[in-house]
């Protein structure tokens, strides 16, 4: 019942006055793929989306839908649906008319429109909203109706701009899952824009990380999380963000070591070759919070003089801020972890899961294929 299509963006560039919104952005979205563009504010995500929709004229590059160049095609003829960040529901039209709007413009028959709108409304559980005006909806309801309007037409590409922003945490969590389920059922081609890396991770088939209009990395959620291309991607993806610890590369008989005043790590096998090429260099070691263990002092292997800076219980787990001579690092520990601020602790690092970059570099040192997966357990708690 839905048509799908492929999208290809080649070398897209857009300037507003003297500021460059996006520069040379290229990617390809396969038929039925859910592709997420993620990045912080001003990354150019929305501009990318609007350019694909034809609402902005690119200064360079081409948009292809089903391999047809679209630059000269008016928005209304591109067969794309766009869900705007501010939703842009037509305030003067009922829910039904909002959803039927694209269908009417496509000259669909009356009965067919009726059927189609009801079908979509059922799916999104918004049947009760059809007769009402958008201003009577709650935030989540508005979001659903806007989504329904975007889903209704037989567009080849569905563009969603921050569809879950401005919602309360719980609604966001459940809508997120719902969206993912919907996508699985319909198999539509979706380009999804968000600034929330959790959303990007949980929803996407593939993720593109954008920063200041430039593409940083494209990959599956696992690839992006496990093998970030650069410092920015590593920091941006994951919460709490990855920790960066300065260290020096030292090679001795025992192997290659990464050391500083309070930490001494044996370089893992997949990094050792690369590190050997930079003896005595200053590097930054990137460690995910979940790969750090924090132990109250006098137990376990002592690595350095560290104290607890803050303890943040989150219920199922706890975040511990550890004060180090090189700044604070965050670690995720089990929920029952006992500790108070200023308590001396030691930390342990799962060195198989670290990344390293040379000070001043953005890119990580290349790593071999044998990087370990996270420790496999049966359950948290």
């Amino acid at each position: 019942m839905s048509s799908t299509g492929t999208l290809r963006v080649e070398g897209l560039t857009k300037r507003f006055g003297r500021t460059v919104a996006i520069a040379d952005v290229s990617f390809q979205v396969g038929d039925g793929e859910l592709f997420t563009v993620v990045g912080p504010t001003n990354a150019g995500k929305t501009t990318t989306l609007r350019t694909i929709a034809g609402l902005e004229t690119p200064d360079g590059g081409t948009v292809f839908i089903n391999d047809r160049p679209m630059n000269a095609v008016h928005s209304s003829r591109r067969k794309v649906s766009l869900m705007f960040q501010n939703l842009a529901l037509f305030p003067h039209l009922s829910g039904f008319e909002n959803i039927a709007f694209p269908l009417r413009n496509a000259r669909m028959r009356r009965e067919e429109i009726q059927r189609r709108v009801e079908e979509i409304a059922d799916l999104l559980r918004i049947g009760h909203l059809l007769d009402r005006l958008p201003r009577t909806y709650s935030g989540g309801e508005q979001q659903r109706v806007a989504l329904a309007r975007a889903l209704a037409p037989t567009s080849e590409v569905l563009l969603l701009d921050e569809p879950l922003s401005n919602l309360d945490a719980h609604i966001r969590t459940s809508l997120r899952a719902e969206l993912k389920r919907l996508h699985r059922e319909f198999g539509r081609t979706i380009v999804y824009v968000t600034h929330d890396q959790v959303e990007a991770m949980s929803l996407s088939d593939r993720i593109a990380v954008l920063r200041e209009g430039r593409m940083q990395q494209i990959g599956t959620p696992e690839e992006i999380y496990e093998r970030p291309a650069n410092r920015f991607v590593a920091t941006f993806i994951g919460s709490p963000p990855i920790n960066f610890v300065p260290a020096a590369v030292v090679e001795d008989a025992g192997g290659v070591w990464l050391t500083n005043a309070w930490l001494k790590l044996r370089a893992p096998a997949h990094l050792a070759p690369a590190l050997r090429q930079h003896p005595r260099d200053s590097v930054l070691v990137a460690v995910r919070p979940e790969d750090i263990t924090v132990t109250p002092l006098a137990t376990g292997d002592r690595v350095g003089d560290l104290t607890v800076y803050a303890v943040e219980p989150l219920g199922a787990k706890t975040i511990v801020d550890v004060k180090t001579p090189d700044g604070n690092i965050k670690a995720i520990v089990r929920r029952s972890w006992e500790g108070r601020p200023n308590m001396p602790v030691t930390v342990g690092v799962d060195e198989r899961r670290i990344h390293v970059l040379r000070e001043g570099d953005e890119e990580f040192l290349p790593s071999g294929p044998d990087r370990a997966a996270p420790v496999q357990t049966t359950s948290a708690g």
Partner: protein, 319 residues
């Protein structure tokens, strides 16, 4: 010239309808197309007469001379020179008008602002009070002036009220004493247009970021400090806007003067518009009035730009 662009843009609109995405360059004509009807009206009704005024202002034409205007005797800037250096009455009218603008606008805005502040808090019957206070701006100005004429006659109720206040009969000749006649004129203007200022400023106040005000209060600001340091800077744009709108309109003040005093006694309430009316429609010195019109436009424009400059500078800074 703009008309030809319009033709292009019509084609462009059709092109859009056919689903061909216009390029940026093609986009501009559509924009122009939108302002074409307005432009036609403005060009025909305003711009032609303005250009004709410009021509006339350089001649000595008068309709009573029996010569067609396009054949009028060209005399360069003689009218302007005469206005600026040889016409005491014009200069007096200009200064008087400026005075009315300054006093009138200052009074309107300060009273309007005071009232708006008074109405900032809620109190019973507030809506009714607002309705009553804004009533004057809905009165036809000519009617308003007539009402004031009645009020300010020497046998009118204003003198009666003064009499009640001071306890003995008074006969202020409001309309025929050259020192007083400006008072009723200013009062009509103030009476009629303070409500507009009040309404604009009240809307401005209501739209102020409530939390900034609360923050200032929580930080211990007194009423006056709140007003002086927070409210005033925040509504400055609205104040400036009100200032511009009213100034521009008062510069043209005509109806009340025409009705209350016709510029008299003597020329003691003659404003620019009144002066122009007399010279144009009574003495029929039209070329001369045309020149005066341009001088006035320059004065108003300079005045407006002067006021707007700090505002636009700030807006630019905020961007």
């Amino acid at each position: 010239m703009k008309a030809t662009v319009a033709a292009n843009s019509t084609r462009n609109v059709e092109a859009q309808a056919e689903g061909i995405r216009p390029t940026l360059v093609q986009h501009i004509p559509f924009a122009v197309w939108l302002i074409v009807p307005a432009e036609i009206v403005l060009l025909s009704v305003v711009v032609f007469p303005t250009l004709m005024s410009l021509w006339l202002s350089l001649t000595s034409w008068t309709p009573t001379s029996g010569v067609n205007w396009w054949q009028a005797e060209f005399q360069w800037l003689a009218n302007y020179v005469q206005l600026l250096f040889g016409d005491e009455r014009f200069r007096a009218a200009l200064l008087r008008t400026l005075l009315i603008v300054v006093v009138g606008v200052a009074a309107e805005i300060s009273i309007g602002l005071s009232l708006a502040l008074l109405f900032f808090d809620d109190f019973p019957w507030k809506k009714i009070a607002i309705s009553a206070i804004i009533l004057p701006m809905m009165i036809v100005p000519v009617d308003a002036a007539n009402a004031f004429f009645m009020l300010f006659r020497d046998v009118g109720p204003v003198n009666q009220l003064v009499r009640i206040l001071v306890g003995h009969p008074v006969r202020f000749a409001w309309l025929s004493d050259s020192n007083l006649a400006i008072v009723p004129i200013l009062l009509v203007e103030i009476w009629q247009w303070t409500p507009l200022m009040f309404l604009m400023l009240l809307t401005g106040l209501m739209a102020l970021p409530q939390n900034q005000l609360r923050a200032a209060v929580a930080l211990g600001a007194s009423r006056w400090q709140l007003f002086r340091r927070i409210i005033l800077p925040l509504i400055a744009p609205v104040v400036v806007l009100s200032l511009v709108i009213r100034s521009v309109e008062i510069f043209k003040i005509f109806d009340p003067v025409y009705i209350l005093t016709r510029g008299g006694p003597g020329t003691s309430t003659e404003t620019l518009s009144m002066w122009m009316y007399d010279n144009g429609f009574v003495y029929f010195r039209i070329a001369y009035v045309a020149a005066a019109g341009f001088l006035v436009l320059l004065v108003v424009l300079a005045y407006v730009l002067l006021i707007l400059r700090p505002l636009s500078r700030r807006t630019a800074a905020e961007r």
